[in-house]
């Protein structure tokens, strides 16, 4: 009786936790398959489903660097392993979608995405959500591409 009541009210609720509940069910098979796929095929979980990459835009990269400095550099360095992994070469290890989803949606990523879960197991500090906008996340990605291109 009580269980029925709980179930019935979640169906007409629009709170965030209910949405998470729904996604969790759907994401289970995806989670299993990522274990076998190439990381360069894994787009992660979050608002970004596809990113089109062109020539490296150095203006965007410079703006991305500034945002990175304010919001990310307390835990990430480019060349040095710090609180989180060194970011040099990240665009060769991860898809652009995965990188942006990790920046924008870290809580869900470390909970459900195999690659992100493995990183948490290794580094122990969960990635902080710094409320980065899609525009800024895209610029940070450009900064990473620019850094990787220099090598």
């Amino acid at each position: 009786m009580a269980i029925f009541a709980i179930y019935s009210c979640s169906s007409d609720s629009s709170s965030n936790s209910e949405n998470v509940e729904v996604e969790r069910v759907e994401s289970t098979p995806a989670e299993e398959t990522t274990a076998e796929v190439d990381p360069m095929q894994d787009k992660g979980i979050g608002p970004i489903s596809s990113v089109e990459l062109g020539e490296i835009d150095e203006t965007m990269a410079a703006e991305g660097k500034e945002t990175f400095k304010t919001l990310c550099s307390a835990c990430h360095k480019i060349e040095k392993r710090f609180v989180g992994p060194a970011l040099l070469g990240v665009t060769e290890r991860r898809t652009p979608e995965w990188i942006m989803n990790m920046i924008m949606n870290p809580e869900e990523m470390v909970e459900k995405n195999k690659l992100a879960k493995d990183l948490l197991a290794e580094y122990l500090s969960p990635m902080a959500n710094q409320n980065v906008s899609e525009e800024d996340a895209r610029k940070i990605l450009e900064y990473f591409r620019s850094e990787d291109n220099k090598q």
């Binding site: 009580a2 009541a5 709980i6 009210c9 979640s10 919001l71 307390a74 902080a128 710094q130």
Partner: protein, 660 residues
């Protein structure tokens, strides 16, 4: 046994159903059913659910303002206002010390009494809540976005700032009336010459509608009575303000006897619009007066205190038609205006009856120039000409009245410890319920506006005696929640409060909760000593002053190893929280620092001062459990002898923090 089990199952199911809908219709349904007498169900807010109302309950002599949810009566936050609060570093960190500055210097405490929520068109708008400090007269404005005290203005020429802080219909003014009359300006004189020499100032403090910033527009210098409580007119009486008085005898000693001689005292009716016009046309006199005006900025995360040096005073006899006295029996205390603005209720605390004046009759008497006489040049109207009705013998010691949305009034009785419900217009008593014990104010959410709600009433008691587990001679203070949605009031719960629950203001949660701030944006941080990224973290020596620009994020400080500090230095820790996520504050404290911890919100910068007294290596750490690695959030400062050659250095993981 089986029947009891079934009943329990049914109860559980009903509770679950009632709690999952935020829609009140479901709750109403369950109320009209067989469980209508179930007080526990009515105050139950299931885990994870939100309350329907906010209640801002003053802390009385704690000087603070507590935020509760109704109907659960759960305490969410204590907002420091007039008293220092080590938990939040209020009055301890360098940023908020100026908030407690006054013309007497730093005053770390006050007695906070009457919160009132800002209004637009006579309805609560949820922008700010104002509250008065009684002892060293001050008015504070608290943001209902950040839930922090943003501004405090001192009120000169005032003492025992009690008929405060009530707002007019569009928050044009927040009003502060003096309880104690004093020499204006202050001077050395015999106390026995009180009569006709002491004066009472009623201050009209204008509020900037954009910023909320306050400024004293004018002070009305009234006869030397005690101005006890006040309320604005609304609707038809908008533009007027009403103040109860006692001690119209102008006694200066043993007031409990000597201020209770007159059969009637007055309610002073002040036409503030008329005085505003007079002042705007150059009326009034500027007089020297020292008072502090303290403003906190969410951009600099810092308060500034400005000492003001003059105030505009108005002599009421020079503005004809601006002030009248309405005779009101026996030392009236509460002064409450009904939602329509027609009725002004004077609660004569030594009277057996409640007196209700009519605004319409008052205006007719003024037009007909029917005066009974005058006091210090201010016309006194005839009691018979202004009274609308009398509630006969409702109880003993009436104090305060609030209103619901159905034309009912509710008055507290201190001596007989009860709330009495009566009907506006017919003046008949409908219901009465005991309080436990000695009730002062009461609050109905929206009860000070044109649109009160009619669901809950909070009674605030002065004494609890046997209501709770005893805790030594000092017992908790307490409030009580009543359901007033039906014909009869129903007591739902008792709840303990922080300090004395002197008065409260309440409003529907929807008015505020979606506008509640979540973080401060780092790129908007204009604090003078902010380090908005680790690359800006540094340590700078200026003579014997050392400024540490430090950052914090889960779960480290930058820098966390500092050397080159010396005994005798004055070390400022300016600490910026780099987090940009909701609900991730960090704290910091330093061994031996003669101050409190800091509790820093995401994007915010705060500062504490440490004066190391001994050589050694001294640790600091994060005080707010912030993450799984919170215990690792720590650092060291090396302190060398005065004049030592150890250079200033600051590192994190072996590298200087400002290295690329």
């Amino acid at each position: 046994m089986k029947t009891i089990k079934n009943i329990i199952y049914t109860l559980v199911a009903v509770l679950v159903l009632a709690s999952c809908g935020n829609t009140s219709s479901k709750k109403k349904d369950s109320k009209s059913g067989a469980l209508s007498g179930n007080a526990a169900e009515k105050v139950y807010v299931a885990p994870g659910e939100h309350d329907e109302y906010y209640a801002f309950v003053s802390g009385g002599f704690s000087g603070q303002l507590a935020v509760y949810g109704l109907p659960s009566a759960r305490l969410f936050k204590v907002i420091p206002v007039f008293s220092v609060d080590a938990e939040k570093a209020y009055g301890f960190n360098e940023e908020t010390k100026p908030m407690l500055n006054t013309s007497y210097g730093f005053v770390p405490w006050d007695d906070s009494h009457h919160p009132d929520i800002s209004q637009t068109n006579g309805e609560l708008d949820g922008r700010w809540v104002f509250i008065n400090g009684n002892n060293t007269p001050r008015i504070a404005r608290i943001s209902l976005s950040t839930f922090e005290t943003e501004e405090i203005i001192e009120v000169p020429n005032s003492a025992g700032n009690h008929s405060s802080s009530f707002v007019t219909e569009n928050t044009e003014y927040v009003v502060a009336g003096t309880r104690f009359s004093v020499p204006i300006p202050q001077k050395d004189m015999p106390i026995s010459e009180y009569k006709s020499n002491f004066k009472g100032a009623l201050s009209f403090i204008s509020v900037d509608q954009e910023t909320g910033h306050m400024g004293i527009k004018f002070q009305l210098i009234m006869p030397g009575f005690d101005y006890d409580l006040s309320h604005p007119g609304r609707g038809k009486s908008h533009g007027w303000f009403f103040f109860t008085t006692y001690n119209t005898e102008e006694a200066n000693s043993l007031l409990e006897v000597n201020a209770s001689q007159n059969d009637k005292d007055y309610i002073a009716a002040v036409n503030w619009k008329k005085i505003e016009e007079y002042v705007n046309n150059g009326g009034g006199k500027k007089m020297p007066a020292k008072y502090a005006h303290n403003v906190y900025s969410d951009e600099t995360h810092t308060a500034t205190s400005t000492m003001m040096n003059e105030v505009l005073v108005v002599d009421p006899t020079e503005v004809p038609g601006a002030v009248y006295f309405l005779p009101t029996p026996k030392s009236p205390h509460g002064c409450d205006v009904d939602p329509s603005g027609e009725y002004i209720v004077g609660n004569g605390k030594l009277s057996a009856d409640l007196t209700v004046h009519s605004f319409t009759r008052m205006q007719e008497a003024i037009e007909g120039k029917k005066f009974a006489g005058e006091a210090y040049g201010i016309p006194i109207l005839n009691y018979e000409d202004v009274v609308a009705g009398v509630v006969k013998q409702p109880g003993l010691g009436p104090l305060h009245t609030e209103f619901d949305d159905k034309g009912n009034a509710y008055t507290t009785f201190f001596i007989s410890s009860e709330v009495v419900k009566w009907k506006l217009g017919t003046w008949e008593v409908i219901d009465r319920k005991p309080t436990y014990y000695s009730v002062g104010h009461l609050m109905i959410p929206g009860g000070n506006s044109r649109k009160p709600t009619g669901k809950y009433l909070v009674a605030m008691n002065k004494i609890t005696k046997d209501r709770y587990l005893p805790t030594g001679p000092e017992l908790t203070q307490s409030a009580q929640l009543y359901d007033i949605s039906g014909d009869k009031m129903e007591l739902l719960s008792d709840f303990p409060t922080v300090g004395e629950p002197h008065y409260a203001a309440g409003c529907p949660a929807d008015l505020i909760k979606d506008r509640s701030a979540k973080i401060f944006k780092l790129d908007e941080n204009k604090h003078k000593y902010a380090a908005t990224s680790e690359s800006e973290a540094k340590v700078v020596r200026e003579g014997n002053v050392v400024h540490i620009y430090m950052t914090m994020i889960r779960s480290h400080f930058a820098p966390d190893n500092i050397e080159g500090v010396q005994v005798g230095d004055k070390v400022y820790f300016h600490v910026t929280n780099l987090e940009q996520d909701f609900d991730v504050p960090h704290g910091i404290s330093m061994i031996g620092a003669n101050t409190s911890e800091l509790l820093i919100m995401p994007g915010q910068t705060e500062t504490f001062v440490w004066e190391p007294k001994q050589e050694g290596v001294w640790p600091f750490y994060c005080t707010d459990f912030c993450s799984a690695l919170h215990q690792e959030m720590q650092g060291y400062v090396r302190v060398s002898a005065k004049g030592s050659s150890v250079p200033i250095s600051y590192t994190l993981d072996g590298d200087p923090t400002d290295a690329e």
